[in-house]
């Protein structure tokens, strides 16, 4: 027994070591492939979009982006109303969703009784699991009637001096789409901000309270600023969702190629037009134009995300170090 021991411990040890080295190599190779696959896939996607939209790019060039007419029969394609529609509906969504979700997140982390936190957070996160077509249906049957009969007339009466809230009320509209988008992105913004706020060290709250801050002041002047860059990250996540959301928007926005000043007017988005027309496109140029829209959506998303990153970077520099939530 004793004589055999050194040999036993040495040999398997070496084998294990070798085995582990092999494992290391395999693991590294697998990871490298995975890491390379992502940009490769992205490159392939862009390339496909580019090839698909080539016909339209050659024929319309940059006028496609600035044009406002969309007439497949006359083979005239301008995507500006779609781009404006995508950006407007996302902006409306954020204007509504950001204060609400932030308010809920702050309430849940700083003020609510402990027993309430988990259930409320759970229900809100559940909202994220509902398929968007269900939101669309709910929007058509519940939201739109309420908006049309009560909310929109009220807005027109009170804020009607703004061009945003003028004109005829149809129901299906930019505002309806923005509201449904707001409901859909809220869970994301809320749950990420909640996590970021919960990660703020107790010592920050105590520092503020110890200096004579009320709980509200401590939340607003110490906790939220500490979590600022993380909160911006949460908003960007929501923005990304809002820009790309298709189904529910298509069902509520009215699908009209038009840039209107009023949020009561119908509009269209890039994602919605692709979903609606791709299966019915009759000509090659129509396909190419829709691909071109997809390419534009991709570019818009990249630009918006890029701007948002710069914003995060500036915000986190402005807050001087700490609290890099994302």
């Amino acid at each position: 027994m004793t004589a055999g021991e050194p040999a036993i411990t040495e040999e398997p040890g070496a084998a294990v070591l070798q085995g582990r080295a092999v494992g290391d190599t395999v693991f590294k190779a697998a990871l490298t492939i995975a890491v390379l696959a992502v940009p490769a896939l992205l490159g392939f996607l862009v390339w496909e979009l580019w090839v698909g939209s080539r016909l339209a790019i050659e024929r319309y060039g940059f006028d496609f982006i600035t044009g406002t007419t969309w007439d497949p029969v006359a083979e005239e394609f301008g995507a500006l109303p779609l781009i404006v529609g995508t950006l407007t509906s996302a902006a409306v969504a954020l204007v509504i969703a950001v204060p609400l979700s932030l308010g809920v997140a702050i309430y849940l982390t700083e003020f609510s009784p402990k027993w309430l936190r988990q259930p409320v957070a759970f229900v809100i996160e559940l909202l994220a699991a509902i398929p968007s077509v269900v939101y669309g249906l709910w929007g058509i049957f519940v939201l739109i009637p309420v908006l049309k009969d009560h909310v929109f007339p009220f807005l027109r009466d009170t804020l009607g001096f703004l061009p945003l809230f003028q004109g005829p009320i149809y129901g299906n509209s930019m505002l309806a789409a923005g509201i449904i988008l707001a409901i859909m992105v809220m869970p994301y913004i809320m749950s990420v901000s909640r996590e970021v706020l919960m990660a703020v060290p107790a010592s920050q709250r105590e520092a503020a309270l110890g200096l004579g801050a009320t709980r509200w002041e401590a939340a607003w002047t110490a906790v939220v600023p500490y979590a600022r860059s993380g909160i911006v990250g949460a908003v960007i996540l929501g923005l990304g969702r809002a820009l790309g959301e298709t189904m529910a928007v298509t069902m509520l926005i009215g699908n009209r190629h038009e840039i209107a000043a009023s949020l009561f007017a119908p509009g269209y988005t890039m994602a919605a037009v692709i979903a609606n027309e791709f299966t019915e496109a009759a000509s090659d140029i129509h396909y190419a134009a829709l691909s071109y829209v997809a390419l534009s959506l991709f570019v818009v998303t990249v630009i918006v995300n890029g701007l948002a990153r710069i914003l995060i970077w500036r915000v986190s520099r402005g807050q001087a170090g700490g609290g890099q939530g994302v």
Binding site: E206, A207, G210, A320, G321, G322, G323
Partner: protein, 267 residues
């Protein structure tokens, strides 16, 4: 700062009460679990009181009772009374904000806000609107000078406080607490996260600050307690075992438990 100082010099003993902090038969419990038993202690204005004792004996709990930081914890209960700067701490009519302004607190780990150095020190004065806005830079400078940090940071007040060294951050937290012009400064193991040189600087600072403030410092370092304090209280298992002049405690403690602790036989 100057106003308070001038008041005190003009009428010593009238504007500032001689006893700055007093506990009378104070007990505290976290839920069903009692942590402090029948603590009675009086601290003179402008003195340094060290609180020593083994971990978990309730030193932090006592400190956090003085500015009611433990209000954050659900189920906390107390009995008895604590008086600070003429206020009854737990009296329902006592305004928490006023109390906490009078009682500055410095924590175990430096906890500057992720704001600029200037904004950290200006936090209290701005929040409590203690001085007109345009006088804030003056107050910030005074506090930083008092905290012996001014010379090191005067050229980078707009830089992030988180970029300072640990010792500098702790002095910044002291400066931030001074911004409220408190009567009492509570320090909970302020040097336990610092190196010896930074520790020495804080000790020198405490020596300076006691000219104007009543300081209570919790420490695990016996030499530190002996160096900085006038009075020392020894806590054990939630009770104040002995409270006396520091020299008395360290040369001729009356209780054998105290002696055992300061000679390092337990704790």
């Amino acid at each position: 700062m100057t106003a308070t100082q001038a008041d005190r010099e003009a009428a010593p003993g009238t504007s500032a009460p001689e006893v700055a902090l007093e506990a009378r038969a104070f007990s505290f419990s976290y839920g069903p679990r009692q942590t402090l038993f029948d603590i009675s202690i009086r601290m003179q204005a402008r003195s340094v009181t060290a609180i020593i004792g083994p971990s978990g004996c309730g030193k932090s709990t006592f400190l956090r009772s003085v500015n009611r930081m433990n209000d954050l914890i659900p189920g906390a209960g107390y009995q008895g009374e604590i008086r600070v700067a003429g206020m009854s701490v737990f009296d329902p009519s006592t305004d928490l904000v006023t109390l906490r302004r009078q009682v500055g607190m410095v924590f175990q780990r430096p906890n500057p806000f992720p704001k600029t150095i200037f904004d950290n020190v200006a936090y209290g004065p701005r929040l409590n609107a203690l001085v007109p806005r345009r006088e804030i830079p003056e107050v910030v400078e005074q506090c930083l000078r008092q905290a012996a940090l001014w010379d090191e940071v005067k050229d980078r007040l707009d830089q992030p406080a988180t970029g300072l060294s640990g010792g500098q951050q702790q002095r910044l937290c002291i400066a931030r607490a001074l911004g409220n012009r408190p009567e009492v400064l509570l320090m909970d193991e302020p040097c336990s996260a610092l190196d010896p040189i930074a520790t020495q600087k804080i000790e020198e600072l405490i020596f300076e600050l006691k000219q104007q403030y009543t300081i209570v410092i919790v420490t695990h370092n016996m030499q530190q307690a002996a160096r900085v304090s006038n009075m020392t209280g020894f806590f054990d298992a939630g009770r104040l075992i002995e409270f006396d002049a520091t020299t008395q405690i360290f040369t001729a403690p009356k209780h054998e438990r105290t002696e055992a602790y300061i000679t390092g036989r337990f704790g």
